[in-house]
């Protein structure tokens, strides 16, 4: 997507910022100009390794090779030299865990991906008599197999001789940000071993208030602090790239992918929130300099920290099944031929005909956290057609968004002013209107859909002075579309009650098992 419409009036070469997005299925590099516009993109997928049911791994060496290739590819497509790149930023799949040898740079095992559930039993064991909230006050997180700490422990327990090597200081741990930065800055030859506050906040090992590794928790989980990287801010120069396509360019930001999207959507004020609608959905709301404990089933996380400024916290709620439900309608039910057709089918009727679909396929997530729940379609009568079900499918995503926003309001006392959206499902006009109707708030889509990479680029650009501050970034933000509530309040309340009743009917479907 090279774009050369604008006349280049100055004779000096134009300056850019590059962002690496080391994601779950692929690595990408995007070059942005000063207006935050995309100049070029390069992308490469990597192998998903499934050694056993529930296990998911990545080959970290393959990922590093791909990262180098996409960086070179993006520069080439943009037809620019590394001298024109002011800084490089990194955003990454969160929680994916890697241990490697500090001397050789060789990973000691495949990276364990965030989706991997091999530490389920370990997490229950670590909960002891307290349960999954054992470390929640300090870390903001429930004890769950998603997070990095228990994955480190699993590797130390299961790779021959690894614990001894780790305790001797020969082994380094990192999430994918650390792995990419360490390699970019020289690897075994002086690479810097750092992570940023957002990634560190997903390990279950960092104290949210002090922004330091919590030694007591590290000891409880069984992680020697010698393996841990230094925790730095999200936007500062960690080092400069050594060798490769970016030799000499400052490496200047790291943010977990959802936090990067929050940053790219310029949610810099308390109460501003973004929601990314993909296979699943992640909603993050800026809560300012205060870490708010959640009593409503959300996660407390670090939103970002710019240099030595105070950290900005966020509340996070995730919905497991959103786009995945549309895919299920297409692949398992065969009611539509393509995901986009769900809107066509839904628009053939006026309303849901009384049907509600709660896609608790693997239990209920935020804000309920009920693993004994399973999906239901409620309110069926002979009147209901497949088109009504299509409506109910879209409404399920909208109602679940409403539940998370309600939980955020309950925890923070902050009223959501508008919801900034991104992700593939934002092309669904009816869904966006439903979300606005159910939230009774405007829903806005920005013009740059690549908010994750943009966030990493913004943070890196701030660190090197390419952009002057968050006000300038905010001025770059452009509204591509806005949906406003059109629903009658009484109808909203009535339908929300039906939705909540349908949710109740999913619970307790499975008998209590471990």
């Amino acid at each position: 997507m090279t774009d050369r419409h604008d006349a280049d009036l100055s004779s000096a070469p134009r300056q850019y910022v590059a962002a690496i997005d080391q994601g779950t299925t692929s690595s990408r590099c995007i070059v942005f100009d000063h207006d935050g516009r995309i100049v070029s993109v390069d992308q490469k997928e990597h192998e998903q390794i499934f050694p056993k049911p529930g296990w998911v791994e990545h080959n970290a060496a393959e990922i590093w090779t791909n990262v180098q290739e996409v960086v070179a590819g993006a520069l080439e497509k943009a037809q620019i030299t590394k001298e024109q790149v002011q800084a490089i930023g990194i955003t990454n799949q969160r929680e994916t865990t890697l241990l490697w040898d500090r001397t050789t740079g060789e990973p000691v095992h495949n990276a364990i991906v965030w989706q991997d559930t091999r530490t389920d039993a370990l997490c229950r064991e670590l909960g002891r008599n307290v349960g999954q909230d054992r470390f929640r006050r300090e870390t903001g997180l429930p004890l769950s197999s998603y997070f990095a700490g228990p994955k480190i422990r699993w590797l130390l327990d299961n790779v021959e001789g690894l614990r001894e090597r780790a305790e001797r200081g020969d082994i380094l741990f990192g999430t994918m940000d650390s792995w990419v930065i360490w390699n970019l800055t020289g690897g075994p030859d002086g690479g810097v071993h750092v992570t940023d506050v957002t990634n560190a906040s997903r390990t279950l090992l960092m104290s949210l208030r002090s922004m330091e590794w919590d030694e007591r928790i590290c000891a409880s989980i069984g992680v020697p602090t010698a393996v841990l990287p230094e925790i730095r801010s999200s936007a500062e120069v960690y080092g400069t790239a050594k060798g490769g396509a970016l030799d000499g360019v400052p490496v200047a930001s790291a943010l977990g992918d959802q936090q990067a999207a929050l940053f790219g959507q310029t949610c810099f004020e308390v109460g501003e929130a973004k929601s990314t609608y993909g296979t699943g959905t992640f909603l993050l709301m800026n809560t300012g300099n205060e870490a708010i404990n959640s009593y409503a089933g959300l996660i407390t996380t670090v939103g970002y920290r710019i240099g030595d400024q105070a950290p900005v916290y966020a509340l996070e709620g995730s919905i497991a099944v959103t786009g995945a439900l549309v895919q299920w309608m297409r692949d398992q039910m065969g009611l539509i031929n393509s995901a986009a057709e769900i809107e066509t089918l839904a628009l053939t009727v006026e309303d849901n005909g009384g049907a509600y679909f709660v896609p608790a396929f693997s239990g209920l997530f935020a804000p309920y956290w009920r693993s004994d729940a399973r999906g239901v379609i409620a309110g069926l009568t002979r009147y209901v057609t497949k088109a009504h079900i299509a409506r109910a499918v879209l409404e399920a995503t909208a109602w679940q968004t409403r539940e998370i926003v309600d939980a955020m309001k309950k925890d923070s006392g902050v009223e959501l002013t508008a919801l900034k959206v991104d992700g593939g499902m934002t092309s669904n006009n009816l869904l966006m209107q439903n979300i606005s109707d159910f939230l009774d708030a405007p829903v806005v889509r920005p013009m740059v859909s690549e908010t994750t990479c943009l966030g990493a680029a913004y943070a890196a650009g701030l660190a090197v002075g390419f952009w002057s501050g968050t006000d300038e970034l905010r001025a770059n933000w452009r509204r591509a579309a806005e949906w406003n509530p059109q629903m009658d309040p009484a109808a909203r309340d009535r339908e929300y009650q039906f939705w909540l009743k349908a949710v109740q009917r999913t619970m307790g479907w499975l008998d209590e098992t471990d």
Partner: protein, 254 residues
């Protein structure tokens, strides 16, 4: 190289022409659109009719797709699919042109707006998805009329009401305008639908070069024009966008 059967290719061309929303075409329309003699075309249509792939309306004598074909699967391009594929390109168009971008398809003798990207200036704007625009005065409508024989039929059958003082109301003059659209590959509307507002649009084609919609930008005449002509930069941006979406559709499975 495998040998191909010409009459099957021709039958396929007829079906593609008839594929889509509520499309009905007469014998001569079909014959001229696919470039065959009327007698040959009639033979093709009768065979297709026997197979149930085509039906003939008893009153008008026009042809449309038959139920049998629809039963084989709805293969037409879904407008929401079109929007999903056009999304990144139209965002880029709005951003590079500084104007609002629209995607339109033929629907009920007019242009249905299926996608709209705001002008990137933070002003208050209302989403116009679902709105209808006239075929005979808008840039989107002219593109559809120039490239899609069904749209052409419909616009020529209807009246040409004057919406502004500049609207072309003479069918012959309109037809001449369409020839120009075809030869240069894009259409314009200079205050013909809204006073002081100009638009530029270009066709989106699928991999069989069938028109599936039109994409364009709309803005104040003062911004869009310089010295009486439209900015070449804006025309290029619209055409780039149309080509990108078309390329994207060609890679698809329909």
């Amino acid at each position: 190289m495998a040998r191909t059967i010409q009459s099957l290719e021709r039958a396929a061309a007829v079906l593609r022409l008839l594929a889509g929303g509520e499309r009905r075409l007469g014998l001569s329309d079909i014959a001229s659109a696919i470039g065959l003699a009327k007698a040959t075309t009639h033979g093709l249509l009768r065979t297709l009719q026997q197979e149930g792939f085509v039906e003939q309306d008893v009153h008008s004598g026009k042809y449309q797709l038959g139920a049998e074909l629809l039963r084989l699967g709805n293969s037409y391009l879904d407008v929401h699919e079109l929007r999903a594929r056009a999304l990144v390109w139209t965002d880029d168009l709005a951003r590079s042109s500084g104007e609002s971008a629209y995607l339109g398809v033929l629907h009920q003798r007019g242009v249905l707006i299926v996608h709209h990207v705001f002008r990137p200036d933070d002003s208050r704007q209302v989403l116009e998805v679902g709105a209808m625009q006239p075929l005979h005065s808008t840039a989107l409508g002219k593109v559809l009329a120039a490239y899609d024989p069904v749209a052409h039929n419909e616009v020529m059958e209807d009246a040409f009401p004057a919406i502004t003082e500049r609207t072309v109301t003479d069918p012959a003059e309109f037809e001449k305008g369409l020839e120009e659209v075809r030869s240069r590959g894009w259409a314009s509307d200079l205050g013909e639908t809204w006073d002081g507002v100009a638009s530029i649009a270009a066709p989106i084609l699928d991999r069989r070069k069938m028109p599936v919609g039109a994409v364009g930008i709309t803005g104040a005449v003062e911004r869009m024009q310089q010295g009486g002509t439209l900015h070449a930069r804006l025309v290029a941006a619209v055409r780039d966008c149309a080509r990108s979406v078309s390329r994207d559709l060609g890679a698809g499975r329909f």
